[in-house]
Symmetry: C2
Subunit: 335 residues, 2 copies
């Protein structure tokens, strides 16, 4: 039985807790502790926060104490998108001897700026005999691992195009705000200028695909534009007027020989229809893979995190990316 | 650079050779030898058989001599669907210190009858520090690994349905004969009674999916029926009259609690339209994955075999199934 601590119970972490609790009856996994910084949550039984019955698992504000008390096999970590924010948290878990599965988008394929930290993290993993993995549904699956897997039968690959269209109106409120739904185009431009706006992880997905295929691009680039509403759109969380920002339209491209060889296109906006995930491989054989209706991200992120448990438990110690580990699969899910 | 011997140059093996030769310019792989039993092929430069220029690689009729001379890193093996036919060939390669990637369908998930052989093979692998993998497009990908991968974002799986519809009229001649195209229903029944007719590997795919998900079915069963032509169908290789057999319709089911939890359905017949691969996961989130036009099997089998090279090279020694190794991906294919 795998003993798990959930680190961070924002919308994703709280759903991880719900899923872990639902799987406890299989005897394969047990939620032993929860860490969060929110004073409104600390000290409360997580069952209250989930509006279910009492669970006996109380939210701790002291990560070190929680890790020392429960000595979890695995920490599922979901606190921030950025390595510089989560670095100490990850090291804390590793030093406590726990594997870590983190939703930190930048961690799915750290860029050169993080080389020093990643080397330190990798060494700490090896010293403690544990694995740290950055994953989730995007980055981690929909626009990278799935695309890589789509090439498994190909003898030749000329190009790969990945498209993910998400009707954000069906997603959680924070996500709708995160993509700028309801902003004016000028407000969108201001947010974009901060460099910490839009979907975090598209360049990581691009690098995951390129690296998995042993492809060294001559050039990689990313663009971010607002998706503009062509009519008024209302969701449970926001009203977007015609001409206002409905969400994001983000494209990342890896080129060689002047040609786009890998192209990832993400449309995430309220009112997008239909939602779809698509991977088109030009090559031999050609592959036209579609997930009709798309992969529903809120649940899928939770699934991707929880389903990584067996993979981190059986991998060699060190820092890993999703493309370094076996095929992902549902864990304790078909019973 | 990975040095490869191709063992068996029927239609699939010959295409493996063609693909390996095409990848030699990447410097990642080199075809160093070929083994076959056909007196018409032995002693000839494989370039003659491919109708390309001279390659310098001559077909050998003596596997031991070929392996001893070239000491390949990897043998790609495609001679028969059945473990009892290929057992000695596999051990021969392993004893020569080579990894083996085999298209032997039964090997993708050996059943209980082969326990003794598999234990011996696994021990030989470990003694020699090599890996033996049974793979291909089906079994090995389309109806198993792809289905497993489809569950990676799922927090709950209620059932999995896999459908593969193949217009065999577009496939190679031996495959059209293998599925009985042109037979009368009575001839089909006779062939079926031999127990070595139809698609070999559907039960293996069923076990791969169940095992990967940690699911222990209460019951597993398989049916094989003829697909009957509703009109006359002509291909380059066969003419099928109305009412004659166009191919196979094969279904494998794993049940628990009286319900089909995993269902694999294969239609492989001349005149099937459209070709498609589909994986439907009922669960949370639900997944409706389609490969429009299907995965073209003749090329894809070759791709699956060649693309397994990096995976067997980096795995721990032993006998492996596709679900034991990292995500498949195109090898030396995007350059």
């Amino acid at each position: 039985m795998v003993r798990v601590v959930q680190y961070g119970i924002g919308p994703i972490g709280l759903e991880v807790v719900r899923v872990l609790l639902s799987k406890q009856s299989t005897g394969e996994v047990k939620l032993v502790g929860i860490v969060d910084v929110d004073p409104q949550k600390i000290g409360r039984d997580v069952g209250e926060l989930l509006s279910t019955g009492t669970t006996g698992v109380v939210v701790s504000g002291d990560a070190d104490a929680c890790l020392a008390e429960h000595r979890p096999d695995v920490v599922i970590h979901s606190t921030s998108s950025f390595i510089d924010v989560v670095g100490d948290q990850l090291l804390q878990c590793v030093d406590a001897g726990s594997h870590v599965i983190s939703s930190t988008e930048e961690l799915s394929f750290p860029d050169g700026q993080s080389d020093g930290f990643v080397a330190r993290l990798d060494k700490a993993c090896k010293d403690n005999g544990v694995v740290v993995l950055g994953t989730g549904v995007n980055p981690g699956y929909a626009m990278d691992a799935l695309a890589v897997m789509a090439t498994a039968p190909c003898t030749r690959v000329d190009s790969i195009q990945v498209e993910r269209a998400v009707d954000a109106g069906r997603r959680r409120g924070p996500l709708q705000r995160k993509i700028g739904a309801g902003l004016t185009p000028a407000q969108f431009a201001e947010k974009k200028a901060t460099g910490r706006f839009g979907h975090i992880g598209l360049m990581q997905s691009l690098r995951l695909v390129a690296d998995a295929l042993g492809f060294e691009p001559e050039q990689m680039s990313e663009t971010l534009e607002p998706a503009i509403a062509d009519r008024q759109i209302r969701t449970d969380f926001v009203t977007v007027d015609e001409g206002a920002v409905a969400g994001i339209h983000q494209v990342a491209v890896a080129k060689a020989g002047g040609r786009a060889r890998i192209r990832l296109e993400l449309k995430m906006a309220v009112g997008v229809s239909p939602s779809i995930d698509r991977v088109v491989v030009e090559g031999d054989p050609p592959i036209d893979l579609r997930i009709e209706g798309g992969i529903f991200g809120d649940t899928a992120t939770v699934g991707a995190l929880v389903n990584a448990i067996p993979n981190v438990m059986s991998a060699e110690p060190g820092f890993k990316r999703v493309i370094d580990l076996p095929v992902g699969r549902a864990f304790a899910a078909l019973r």
